[in-house]
Symmetry: C2
Subunit: 260 residues, 2 copies
């Protein structure tokens, strides 16, 4: 998707969780994870034992300009060191570990991380652990975490690409704090929704032209057909400009009608 | 994430939306999109004018085994043909198109698609359009759609990778139908949550050992310290097995205590 506006500031705050990749293999996946993080307003990326070293040219290329994430990556030798400053840590894993562990969905984790930065019991600094491409997290890493995050995916095909796993968790964090309306009618700046008076003018214009054209030749059906057409046009929620366009369409038909 | 169980059946049903990629460029992104779709139980992938042709070796490789998606891809020359059998179509785009169009979040779209397959006004077959990597959807493609989907991302870095965009929409569709609990305590099969009687046995064992060790030497503080320890241990929600482990730990300390 296009649409980046670099004049707008980042949304990251102190309450944003760190993403910790443990023993990732491909720089490309690290870069894609960084891009997904920044898409969702996260910037604190930590890497434990990257197989191919750090910095990584392939990570930078795949990050598609997420330099604020890539340039500030911190590399650690152990998971313990990578999470030392955190107070609430989740381990993302799809596998059942035969451990006694609280398991939450990505959405629930996001709400908890949002809440953990606030109020009584707040002031948490949170992080989310992801394992490498081949084997995921080691059980010892899972045991370092407070809770497990598991995404309820297709059980017949639940293996997520590393960057895709990071995206799901980051996305849920993003929307848990989003104030965007679930649904809105978007209208160009140079117009506005039509008033009911304008809609009534449209209805009467159309119905008059249809009277002239003989469309309502079964007179007893006229009321129901009028209601149906009015309902249809109102469902479209036209702008003032569109009402004028529709009246132009009607006038165009009516002009030829009168010439006949 | 690991954890694929190929013995379990797919979750896709007739109500699952089609994913339509319009003029995608990289086979790798098509393959990653197919993988993300199958992760979320979607299988109907349609491609309009793939730049590098079809089939695509790089798409197959990147799909990581999502053959049920890749092998059933249908290729079309135009967007109109690709959506001909659908009744409700969304266009995924981050850019404002200066069109009068209803815009919904991926989550709202998912709920609508789920609802559109059911009840009065149901029997819809839905699809979601995604544009190519470089330019996204053409305005004429957006005008073919009923509604627009826009993900409320970081406004300073909102450009999603194509497969990541597909994942967000597919993921929201998946969780809109998920019955997975937001949070659950997962326990190994060979044990169960401790009963309150077992917890009380643990408390009294610990408190007796601490009496012996002199931990409660300030007698008036004993009640509050007992309450604190009981609260702490209950917050851990131990299993019956863990209660036995903890009693072994206490016994181990107490044994050395008595030898002193």
């Amino acid at each position: 998707m296009a649409g980046t506006d670099r004049t707008q500031s980042l949304l990251t705050g102190d309450e944003a969780p760190a993403i910790i990749l443990v023993a990732p293999q491909l720089g490309e996946n690290i870069g894609m994870a960084a891009r997904a993080m920044l898409n969702c307003g996260l910037t604190d990326l930590r890497i434990v034992r990257p197989r191919d070293g750090w910095p990584s040219e392939s990570a930078t290329a795949a990050s598609a300009g997420a330099a604020v994430v890539i340039d500030n990556v911190r590399v650690f030798a152990t998971t313990s060191e990578a999470i030392a400053d955190l107070t609430l840590v989740y381990a993302a894993t799809a596998r059942d570990r035969a451990m006694t562990k609280r398991v939450v969905t990505p959405g629930e984790a996001a709400r908890e991380v949002r809440a953990a930065g606030q109020g009584n019991g707040g002031a948490h600094k949170c992080g989310i652990l992801f394992g490498g491409e081949a084997k995921g997290l080691h059980n010892d890493d899972v045991a370092l975490a407070d809770h497990v995050i598991t995404a309820p995916l297709n059980p017949a095909f639940s293996s997520l690409n590393l960057a895709q796993a990071v995206l799901i968790v980051a996305w849920e964090w993003m929307i848990a704090g989003s104030t965007a309306p679930a649904s809105e009618m978007r209208i160009p700046d140079d117009t506005r929704p039509a008033t009911k008076d304008e809609m009534l003018g449209l209805f009467e214009h159309l119905e008059g032209a249809l009277d002239d054209s003989g469309f309502f030749h079964v007179r007893e059906k006229r009321p129901i057909m009028v209601r149906n057409l009015r309902n249809l046009l109102q469902r479209a929620q036209p702008t003032e400009q569109e009402v004028r366009t529709l009246r132009g369409v009607i006038a165009s038909f009516a002009y030829h009608l009168k010439k006949k």
